[in-house]
């Protein structure tokens, strides 16, 4: 099939960017979206134009590297997948496709489709852990965790840290990201000793990084490639309140 691509090109963090139009023919429906960009890049290199820079690594929806808006939607129209899992069979011959980097104040664009997501790492460094020094762990069966609780914790733990929730939110809130980690550890008994300090530290760091507040629009949940539920945000709010009141 044939596609018209409108791709955000920006030389570096300081330069102003703009959309550029590319025509691409011979797109196979079996290609992944990123393979389609690969093909375009090969064409650009052929014509001595700088290829489009974009983050990607695993190309199977788990590392969280890739992240783009496709036609204005984080990771594209299809729910529950990352853009590297999107295949060209989801598009129509002759379609125009808009490709942009995440747009969120805390995520400045570094080049083309690449943004800086290091604020998410810093939130984790502030409190996204259970302090379990290597070597001090008791036997894994010392604490039993019922099946359903373990499954709920796993649902929250499935977050890949891609930043789509932030990109999808009109306030650029990172609440879904933070709540997923807080929930995972609040659900598990191992996480209880640091429960309060954790939520306070993570929320404080989130605010410091300039993420917006949550106004419960649910856009994050809808765009999350791992379908992380916003019930986690409710749990985060409860955890936060409990910690503050104390």
């Amino acid at each position: 099939m044939k596609l018209t691509l409108k791709v955000w090109r920006q030389k570096d963090a300081k330069s102003k960017g703009d959309f550029k139009t590319y025509e691409l023919s011979d797109v196979s429906p079996d290609m992944s979206f990123l393979e389609m960009i690969d093909i375009l890049n090969e064409k650009l290199i052929d014509s001595k134009e700088d290829p489009i820079a974009f983050d990607h690594d695993c190309r199977e929806g788990i590392c969280g590297s890739c992240g783009l808006y496709v036609n204005g939607r984080a990771h594209g129209l299809k729910r529950g997948i990352t853009v590297c899992q999107l295949h060209m069979r989801s598009f129509n011959d002759g379609e125009t496709v808009w490709i942009e980097p995440w747009r969120a104040k805390p995520f400045p664009v570094l080049k083309d489709l690449i943004v800086d997501r290091s604020p998410l790492d810093r939130i984790m460094q502030a409190g996204g852990f259970i302090s379990a020094r290597t070597g001090s762990a008791p036997d894994a069966h010392a604490v039993l965790i019922d099946h359903d609780t373990a499954e709920l914790a796993m649902d929250a733990a499935a977050c890949i840290g891609c930043g789509a929730c932030v990109a999808a939110c009109k306030n650029a809130s990172a609440m879904l990201f933070v709540s997923a980690k807080v929930s995972q550890f609040a659900l598990l008994p191992q996480g209880h000793p640091e429960r309060e300090s954790r939520v306070l530290a993570m929320v404080a760091q989130m605010d410091k990084e300039g993420f917006g507040s949550c106004t419960n629009t649910g856009a994050c949940e809808a765009e999350c490639p791992k379908s992380i539920s916003i019930t986690n945000i409710a749990r985060l709010n409860r955890e936060y309140l409990k910690a503050v009141i104390k």
Binding site: C63, D121, P138, A157, Q190
Partner: protein, 637 residues
């Protein structure tokens, strides 16, 4: 070069115990005075960096992704082994040790493997303490599944995302140490040279992948935890950025390369769909717990798979290996799949695929159970192929997946360059000629959590480290080398892209140095690789500059290294006149087409020493002794 494996004396079950006592200690107050560079933040690197920082050492960690959490370990699906014997099914440290030595086709070091089995249980404890949400039974106890090459259930898992959960556990411990200031984290940094001073590894040169700045980092020891080199084959299940640059640069500085020809081809991957293919996606081995592998008995059978009656199906693994059935080790499963396809019985458009069928399991256990076990894998499969594996069998084919070979290390995980340690998939150590499923995660975490914290301390405590700074001339020289390479790549301005050359190399490797090899093909490969390497350096086109984000330049550096490493893989395969594990030489097979090992002549580790670009590398042999597991023809019948 002298290879001293430093295997401690004594009974196998006491070696590690005694060795830990014999290693000298660094007193707690002095730990702060020592520094280590950890390159890589996968399971091996993240666990090492966190554990060393907890002990008090000064750690700097590097990764090429924008976050430590994205290391390729994140993609591991199926699980991690541990000899907990929670199932009461006869498992033990000794059995895990035995299975691993046998699974590796008697080409691994017994002492290392035993240590791995010994610490395996602690790994699970550690991960649970960190909050890793392993699968649980309704009783609240941890659940297990089975993996290939074992007759016990010892694999712990977190849905089909075990690697992700283990890595996020290690990453959270690492994050804590970064937050405390004990680890300095450098993301989007690629190591491009190793710095060796007075015979010891003392630092690295790294390129800041955003600004292009070439930077110098000094330390008392360097740990390479940079993963495997499967991407030499272009198409593999590895992440796109997985690369061999760190270990290859170290090899060129004097670190011996162990068993480069041991490459694992994984039997269950989604087949290639066209020329655009940029990587291959694994379907976890755990699927073989419930999926049955088959092809139609007749090659020209074009019926819909669900219309093919039982009598017309060949469940070739169950037929040939009744006691292990679908759960034979990977090398055996891959070779058999290739064989039936070579016989013309393959399925799908390309005829290069076999079926992995869940029909029976779904009718036995119900769809919800299968969904709970493998939901995300089924979804992944459907995304890629637009076929629903609940309704129609998966089509799978072998693909390059893991490299057992890597930098040679001694029992302390130290390479032939003092002060250079190698952990995880980047070293050659524990898996011999074939790795069993769910054992790479175990090894990465064993190395990082439970081995290096002891052995690195032992190295420091021995003393003899000079004071050096980044002003040392060796840093200048290494920086010049790195810059020279980058400049050269940018100035060629040829006509073909980096990917073009990478694909061309991959094709040679897959065709001639892949699942089955022969002397003629290998000699041809060596010749062709040389030619294509020369052409690459004449004709590659890398646009842009160094002083910016330049993904073509990053790729070019990596591919340049693959062009050299690929040749070494072929050379190693050529000298090994036997078949063992993942290395199958057509000339050396039994009448039943099984691998024929030659213990008399090839029971050794091949450790290659670099001798310069114009000289042939020299192979050294570390003889392997088997005192406990007696080598026999590996049988899974």
């Amino acid at each position: 070069m002298k290879l001293d494996s430093k295997i401690p004396d004594g009974h196998i079950s006491e070696k590690w115990y005694k060795h830990r006592f014999q290693l000298k200690l660094v007193n707690p107050a002095n730990k702060r005075k020592y520094s280590a560079i950890v390159v890589g933040t996968g399971l091996a690197g993240a666990s090492a960096a966190a554990s060393l920082a907890e002990l008090g050492y000064n750690v700097s960690a590097f990764c090429y992704q924008d976050s430590a959490r994205r290391a390729h370990s994140i993609a591991a699906q199926g699980g991690i082994n541990a000899a907990k014997n929670y199932q009461n099914d006869g498992d033990s440290v000794y059995r895990l040790f035995y299975d691993t030595v046998k699974g590796g086709d008697y080409r691994a070091r017994e002492a290392n493997v035993h240590r791995l089995a010994e610490v395996s249980g602690n790994i699970i404890d550690q991960c649970v303490a960190q909050g890793v949400p392993f699968a649980r039974e309704y009783s609240g106890y941890l659940d297990n599944r089975s993996f290939g090459g074992a007759q016990v259930s010892r694999t712990f898992y977190a849905r089909g995302q075990t690697g992700q959960q283990l890595l996020l556990g290690a990453y959270s411990s690492l994050s804590k140490q970064i937050g405390l200031g004990n680890v300095k984290m450098f993301t989007r940094h690629e190591m491009v040279e190793l710095v060796v001073i007075n015979g010891r590894a003392r630092g690295i040169i790294a390129r800041d992948m955003v600004s292009g700045k070439i930077e110098r980092y000094v330390a008392d020891a360097v740990l390479l935890c940079t993963g495997g080199y499967g991407n030499v084959y272009y198409l593999s299940t590895n992440a796109k950025g997985s690369n061999a640059t760190a270990i290859w640069r170290a090899y060129r500085k004097g670190a011996a390369f162990g068993n480069p020809c041991y490459v694992q081809i994984h039997p269950t991957c989604i087949p290639v769909s066209g020329d655009h293919q940029s990587k291959l996606t694994l379907m976890s081995e755990s699927l073989r717990n419930d999926g049955k592998v088959w092809v139609p008995k007749r090659g020209d059978d074009t019926r819909n798979p669900s219309d093919i009656p039982e009598a017309d199906r060949d469940y070739f693994l169950e037929r040939k290996y009744p006691s292990f059935g679908n759960l034979v080790p990977r090398d055996v499963a891959s070779r058999n799949s290739k064989q039936v396809c070579d016989e013309g019985k393959g399925v799908g458009g390309s005829k290069l695929a076999v079926y992995l069928d869940f029909r029976d399991a779904i009718s036995r256990l119900g769809k919800p159970k299968i969904e709970e076990r493998y939901g995300n894998l089924f979804q992944m499969y459907e995304q890629i192929t637009a076929e629903d594996p609940y309704k129609t069998p998966m089509r799978i084919y072998p693909a390059v997946h893991y490299t057992m070979g890597g930098l040679w290390v001694d029992y302390n995980l130290m390479s032939t360059i003092p002060g250079l340690f190698v952990l995880g998939e980047a070293n050659f150590s524990d898996h011999g000629a074939n790795r069993l499923g769910a054992s790479a995660l175990m090894q990465g975490l064993a190395d990082g959590y439970f081995v290096i914290p002891y052995t690195l301390g032992g190295y420091f405590a021995e003393g003899g480290l000079d004071k050096v700074t980044t002003e040392h001339e060796a840093f200048q020289a290494a920086e010049n080398e790195a810059k020279g390479r980058l400049d050269r790549l940018l100035s060629i301005n040829g006509t073909k892209s980096v990917d073009y050359y990478h694909k061309a190399l991959g094709k040679i490797m897959w065709d001639n140095v892949g699942m089955s090899r022969n002397a003629k093909g290998l000699e041809e490969a060596i010749k062709k690789i040389k030619e294509i390497r020369e052409e690459f350096w004449q004709n590659v086109r890398v646009l842009g500059a160094n002083e910016e984000i330049n993904q073509s330049l990053e790729k070019a550096g990596r591919v340049a290294d693959y062009m050299e490493l690929g040749e070494l893989v072929a050379k190693d395969a050529l000298q090994r006149n036997e078949s063992c594990g993942g290395h199958f030489r057509e000339e050396y097979q039994t009448e039943e087409n099984e691998a024929r090992r030659d213990d008399e002549n090839f029971s050794y580790v091949a450790a290659w020493e670099y001798k310069g670009d114009d000289a042939e590398p020299v192979m050294h042999k570390e003889p392997l002794q088997f005192e406990y597991v007696k080598p026999s023809q590996r049988s899974y019948k």
